[in-house]
């Protein structure tokens, strides 16, 4: 317990440094001040045909984004389908099925990394590197680009453009993701993550007569970008629980820090770019409050005994619920990892979330349902919480009877409509699809556990994909045509159904003039605003999903003495 508190404190310090310095660096990158990678960057613009200082309207920015994502989905799909004919396939793995290739391609392009497959027995090294890992860079860079475009919308006035999609994407991946991931990759490998192109290793133990064929691969560097880009899609089936992905408690901590670094730093970048760091701190404060409460809650739940193990006769479980957890992480660090990965859009896992206690699973599931804004995914966290902020400002404006403003921009009908659309599209999609999956026999057939837990598996899967998270209650058998197709639709809506309103909003805001602040202006950098923002986040997420959640983890928690 004491150790866990120290771990949390060190994490706060590390993230504080990331907030200040990575946040500042992001400002330099997206304002074009950072130039140390120009030798690689400028030739890319030449082949792309992007001229110096080329700016795009929000419509052109969106079209570029959609076309690029479409091409990425197609490229990823084709590589998976053509896998047997491509190099670096030491295990001679067959082509990935059409439905699974579709789901996986959409999953990695939308930064979701939902995986309906076991990586080590499905994907060749080529597919892992060239299809999946490439998208782990690109999808994160695109997410950050959209957040930056929205920030520019607030920062600019009377302008028709919000930046250039190609420049933002290239700069994000070259200047931010590549160097940090490379350094982190070295640490992962130094600690024990594998990084090789050779096939599986055959070992024999003379002590116990065990023979093993151990799957290896280019894992360590994929691990780095998997976490840093809030992707979450691992090389192995059980993700960060496998020692070759996440060998030590140090890499476990590093994973958590990497996952949170960019989303947290972006609040500084936001404040700096709109001219008031305090505005960013207000958003960060709301994030920290929810993250702190959820971490305490989930860690407490996992420190409790597993009810099934207790019912079997082992009531004394001093280390908490260890079913589906790794000894080197323990129950508390696994809970922290779970919260960090579900409240960003990562979804990586160092333990089997399906075996979490009912309230532990509740913590993870509801973390996603809040819309992943605390701090949320790379870029997506910031732009989604800014939608919440606009709704909060609007509600505040209604209360005091004034036209709401946010950062000097009048929030009018267009902005409120776009923000509401962006905020509501996720809950609607998730609930409708979860309802369909539960109503249809093909959907119910996917559940592995019986009783309320089986329903939670289905709800969790569609919540995770609708939020572009990728975290899973691993028991669900998702590799069916039904779940592959429906999941793909869920992920597309969850990504572009929010991004497009955000870009439209960026365009509308950039065109507006600044209204000077007056005594009657509703302030958005104080505690009152943070409370209002928290209210919006919790009410939109909490109340919308309450009926569904009460049929899953809540019923399970309350079923004392019953087993299914």
């Amino acid at each position: 317990m004491g150790h866990f508190l120290i771990t949390c404190l060190v994490l706060v310090v590390v993230l504080g440094l990331a907030w200040r310095f990575l946040g500042e660096y992001l400002v330099a990158v997206y304002s074009g001040r950072a130039k140390w990678f120009a030798f690689a960057e400028l030739p890319i613009y030449r082949v792309l045909g992007v001229s110096d200082g080329e700016e795009q309207s929000w419509q052109r920015y969106s079209v570029s984004l959609i076309i690029f994502s479409g091409v990425s989905i197609l490229a990823t799909y084709l590589i998976l389908r053509l896998q047997p004919g491509l190099p670096f396939n030491p295990q001679h793995l067959a082509a990935v099925s059409p439905a699974l290739s579709w789901n996986t391609a959409v999953s990695f392009v939308t930064n979701t990394n939902w995986q309906n497959y076991a990586g080590e027995t499905t994907m060749s090294y080529f597919s892992q590197m060239v299809a999946l890992q490439v998208q782990q860079f690109i999808s994160a860079a695109v997410g950050i680009a959209v957040a930056i475009a929205l920030i520019r919308g607030f920062a600019r006035h009377g302008e028709q453009t919000i930046g250039n999609f190609w420049v933002d994407t290239v700069r994000g991946s070259l200047y931010v993701l590549l160097p940090i991931a490379f350094l982190a990759g070295l640490i992962f490998v130094a600690q024990g993550a594998v990084q090789t192109l050779s096939g599986p290793a055959l070992v024999r133990d003379s002590l116990n007569g065990v023979t093993q064929l151990i799957p290896l691969g280019p894992v360590g560097f994929m691990e780095a970008i998997k976490q840093l880009g809030t992707n979450g899609g691992g090389f192995y089936n059980t993700n960060s629980a496998v020692p070759f992905e996440n060998p030590t408690a140090l890499t476990d901590f590093l994973s958590i820090a990497l996952v949170l670094a960019i989303p947290v730093a972006l609040t500084y970048t936001f404040g700096k770019m709109v001219g008031s760091v305090r505005q960013g701190i207000a958003l960060l404060a709301a994030m920290v409050v929810i993250f702190g409460i959820w971490t305490s809650f989930t860690a407490f739940a996992e420190a409790q005994p597993n009810p099934a193990v207790a019912a079997a006769g082992l009531t004394h479980q001093p280390t908490g619920n260890m079913e589906g957890k790794e000894v080197r992480f323990g129950s508390l660090n696994s809970a922290l990892f779970g919260v960090a990965s579900t409240q960003t859009s990562t979804g990586s896992a160092d333990s089997a979330y399906d075996s979490f206690n009912p309230m532990g699973g509740f913590g993870l599931l509801t973390g996603m349902m809040l819309g992943e804004v605390t701090p949320g995914g790379a870029g997506s966290g910031l732009y989604t919480i800014l939608l919440d902020a606009i709704v909060a400002v609007f509600i505040g404006g209604l209360m005091i009877g004034r036209t709401p403003e946010y950062l000097g921009k009048k929030i009018q009908a267009t902005e409120v409509k776009l923000a509401s659309l962006g905020v509501l599209i996720m809950p609607i999609t998730v609930l409708v699809l979860a309802g369909i999956a539960t109503a249809l026999p093909v959907g119910r057939a996917g559940a592995f556990n019986s009783g309320p837990h089986g329903f939670t598996e289905i709800l969790y899967a569609l919540t995770s994909q609708g939020n572009n998270n990728g975290s899973a209650f691993g028991g669900l058998n998702g590799n069916t045509v039904f779940y592959n197709v429906v999941g793909g639709i869920d992920m597309l809506i969850g990504r572009f159904g929010i991004m497009l309103p955000v870009l439209a909003l960026a365009g509308a805001l950039a065109a507006k003039q600044v209204v000077p602040a007056s005594a009657g202006t509703f302030r958005t950098d104080n505690q009152m605003f943070v409370v209002l923002l928290l209210g919006v986040i919790v009410i939109v997420g909490g109340l919308t999903f309450f009926p569904a959640v009460s049929l899953g983890p809540l019923v399970e928690q309350l079923s004392h003495g019953r087993f299914f």
Partner: protein, 187 residues
């Protein structure tokens, strides 16, 4: 529109070269040079220090009861995998009962990790408390005194890293190799 399509295709190719080929291959090169042992799976005599094995004889300390060894040779390596049984699963109750009964038959009063399965399906570690719980079984089978086994467990205990990260743990393969060395020294 067409200009953007051309850009999308070109940037996809650039990304493949940079992030799909350059990044992992340079990474592999440097890893093989600097961290050769780790990059190739931390292979030691008898297996990998990072992959658990199933131990069934009472002569050895056992690891987590991960149902079956997912990496047993059947021509291809299997995949990692957790049991994924929920906290109110009837099946989990039944399986845990069996495990508890098994440990009792070995004269062991089991701890949590000895009756719960891991997330990877091949957790290489147990906690010092788990190892201590197994002493009666190993002591009876090997004839080594519990004081000696306790001493062995102490020398094999690692972590918490930096004094606070994660729990203390013992690598089961290394523990049994040390046990083997101890036995041959005494004989």
């Amino acid at each position: 529109m067409l200009a953007q399509l051309r850009r999308a295709i070109v940037l996809s190719l650039v990304a493949i070269v940079l992030f799909g080929v350059g990044y992992p291959l340079v990474g592999t090169g440097i890893s093989q040079l600097l961290f050769n042992h780790q990059a190739n799976g931390s292979l030691v005599k008898g297996g990998s220090a990072l992959v658990g094995q199933s131990w069934t004889s009472p002569d050895w300390f056992h690891g987590r009861p991960d149902a079956d060894n997912p990496l047993l040779l059947n021509g291809k390596p299997g995949s990692s995998g957790a049991a994924n049984l929920g906290p109110r699963s009837e099946t989990l109750v039944r399986q845990t009962r069996k495990l508890i009964a098994y440990w009792h038959s070995q004269g062991v009063d089991p701890t949590t990790d000895l009756v719960t399965t891991s997330a990877s399906g091949y957790d290489p570690d147990i906690t010092p408390a788990d190892a201590v719980a197994e002493i009666p079984m190993v002591s009876r089978a090997t004839g080594l005194s519990s004081a000696r086994l306790r001493q062995l467990i102490r020398t094999q205990t690692q972590g918490p890293e930096f004094g606070f990260l994660g729990p203390s743990y013992i690598n089961v393969l290394q523990l049994n190799q040390a046990l083997k060395a101890l036995e041959s020294r005494l004989r």
